[in-house]
Symmetry: C4
Subunit: 217 residues, 4 copies
Amino acid sequence: MATEQPMTQTTDSARVEAFSDGVFAIAITLLVLDIKVPVADGARELWHALGAEWPAYCAYLVSFLVIGVMWVNHHTVFSYIARVDRTLVFLNLLLLLVVAALPFPTALLAENLRRPAAAHVAAAVYGATMVAHAVTFVLFWLYVTRTGHCFDERVDPVAARATRARFGLGLLVYPVTVAVAFLSAPLALALHGVLALYYAFNQTPIPTREQPAPDPD
Amino acid sequence: MATEQPMTQTTDSARVEAFSDGVFAIAITLLVLDIKVPVADGARELWHALGAEWPAYCAYLVSFLVIGVMWVNHHTVFSYIARVDRTLVFLNLLLLLVVAALPFPTALLAENLRRPAAAHVAAAVYGATMVAHAVTFVLFWLYVTRTGHCFDERVDPVAARATRARFGLGLLVYPVTVAVAFLSAPLALALHGVLALYYAFNQTPIPTREQPAPDPD
Amino acid sequence: MATEQPMTQTTDSARVEAFSDGVFAIAITLLVLDIKVPVADGARELWHALGAEWPAYCAYLVSFLVIGVMWVNHHTVFSYIARVDRTLVFLNLLLLLVVAALPFPTALLAENLRRPAAAHVAAAVYGATMVAHAVTFVLFWLYVTRTGHCFDERVDPVAARATRARFGLGLLVYPVTVAVAFLSAPLALALHGVLALYYAFNQTPIPTREQPAPDPD
Amino acid sequence: MATEQPMTQTTDSARVEAFSDGVFAIAITLLVLDIKVPVADGARELWHALGAEWPAYCAYLVSFLVIGVMWVNHHTVFSYIARVDRTLVFLNLLLLLVVAALPFPTALLAENLRRPAAAHVAAAVYGATMVAHAVTFVLFWLYVTRTGHCFDERVDPVAARATRARFGLGLLVYPVTVAVAFLSAPLALALHGVLALYYAFNQTPIPTREQPAPDPD
């Protein structure tokens, strides 16, 4: 085997999933380090200091939900993928690069949410990170549906392409959160929470051959 | 397959377990970062500085035990679950949200335990986090026993419902630790250690068909 | 099944191993956070600042080796264990408690190694942590060899008991490192590195039935 | 079995891979902690503070890519390894020691890249870490190809030795990055990114028996 392996030569996807699960699990668990631990002498002062950290709690809740739902979606997509080639491993790495970066905009928002002018900037950076995530997810999915050879045998590759439009929805929605950031940073954060819940409960089904798709959405 | 997947459609539970194991393992290992590293010039000063950190060691021990036992219980429950639906994945995410948050009240208690007035507040927040954990665990278990379709075939779904009362015990016990926090913060911390040991050695058995349950507790 | 599960009822050991692997991998990777990142304007100042951190590099190297070899030994022991009961899960949790704590004495030694008087204390605390590790490992192994029901079928439980003495060797050796700490802290650190290498290349074999053990050591 | 296990006695490689995956996943996800979270009152100030952190973003991107590609290569090599002996476990531990250390030179570069004189030193340390990685990878591969008994049956051990030269390429290339560091630190960082991309898309194929290798490169 003297020639280079072609970029489309595939290997089993199990270890890529395990590595990705690790990155998701670590990123989601590191979020708590962004919540500063207050120290106070009196009970009232400590209650007050804890109360003043509401932006950190909100950012924790929303980002935990966001990474959790990203993981669920990643997991769902990989349940239809039986093997990976080197391009897909690389596109998956790009996707993980954004996931692993999320504790940074989360901390940025937590630290600046109570400073009206700066909060807009922090929320815009958070939204831009989500735009980057949507871009990497769409690139990943475009490649999988274009080549088809990574899919599990159950999947109908032609019908699967019809899901691209819905997978690309994030490319329209997340730029809106950047615009909303300049109106109200807390509203933008709440919007990210609502979008994560939407994606949690409205995943795009991937057409399979066992379940014929007479009316692909 | 043009219709949305119903919320109750199930998939294999293995990757949810692996992801949960990752979050438990990371949260339990991050606890050590809460122990401040003292620096001193003299031997006596360093012994003294190390001794002054007893609240951090106690908080580490108790929280390690608490997360460890949470993991054992999570593991035991999942040994009876063969598949998950989207609602269960979401309820599991809620449960992990509280587990991953535990390093925060642990550090809060470690930092404030030697300040009498503030210690009550820190211990109450610790207790409240455990109440939140009990609530997410009960929601998880109510959903599993109500629907029944996630159980492994060995499990007797009707008899399994009889375990709800014991699983709900934490909803009565953990609010008591919040009350105890206002009497004595160290006592509240010790109580959390004792409760973790109780749960370690008194897990509720889940009735299975192979082992008939004539007298469900 | 109305009765409590007896403490000796066993389940498969795979998930306990996966959780333990996670804790070992995280603890070993967190060690790098103990190395302070120096900032300087000039090249010479930065070289100097980097050079001044030699205790942190030594502590990193030794503790990486120590946790790595602990993992190898844990892995070897579990390769002979087919199932776990609740007591063993709990003893394993105790063992992991010490493993996860190791970044603390490592940082303590790194920060204090250049302060002659304080260094003795830091090295003694490091040695004491290793004593604690040896104790938890011996308790684990005593329980496994005493009960026998957790072993894989290949293992000869009677002959396995004969390995206790060698497994208990750490109980004699690690207290010596505490004594050495008061002579010379760098020597004590070096001794921990040498002991890890010894354990890396001199693991106690566990007698199996396929390979009869006429002369158990 | 009274004799010591010979150093070449092999066991299954699966748990070594899982542990290594954990270390790679944690090291890659810890990188984000090196990006400082700026706080500002005004929007302009926060944009400015965010902009001033470009060295941290560049270092994050390059190191994420570097560790990601290291993981891909490690994963590829292990796909040809069916079992490990104690020496290989130890050589793998050495390799992971360097991987886990990478967040340190990454942070060093991020903190010093804008200080012209110090940046050369930081980039040289980064390059030296990559030299150390190349050395551990070559030692690992020399041992695997020299002994041959760890390979999967598919692999042609004689032909596999012919890949040593290409695996050793890093020993020539990474010292060059150290030299480049003294010309321009940003250029050296960019070179590390380019090299990671080169390794991502030009992995050395390992000759297998099923695919005869008439013209080993």
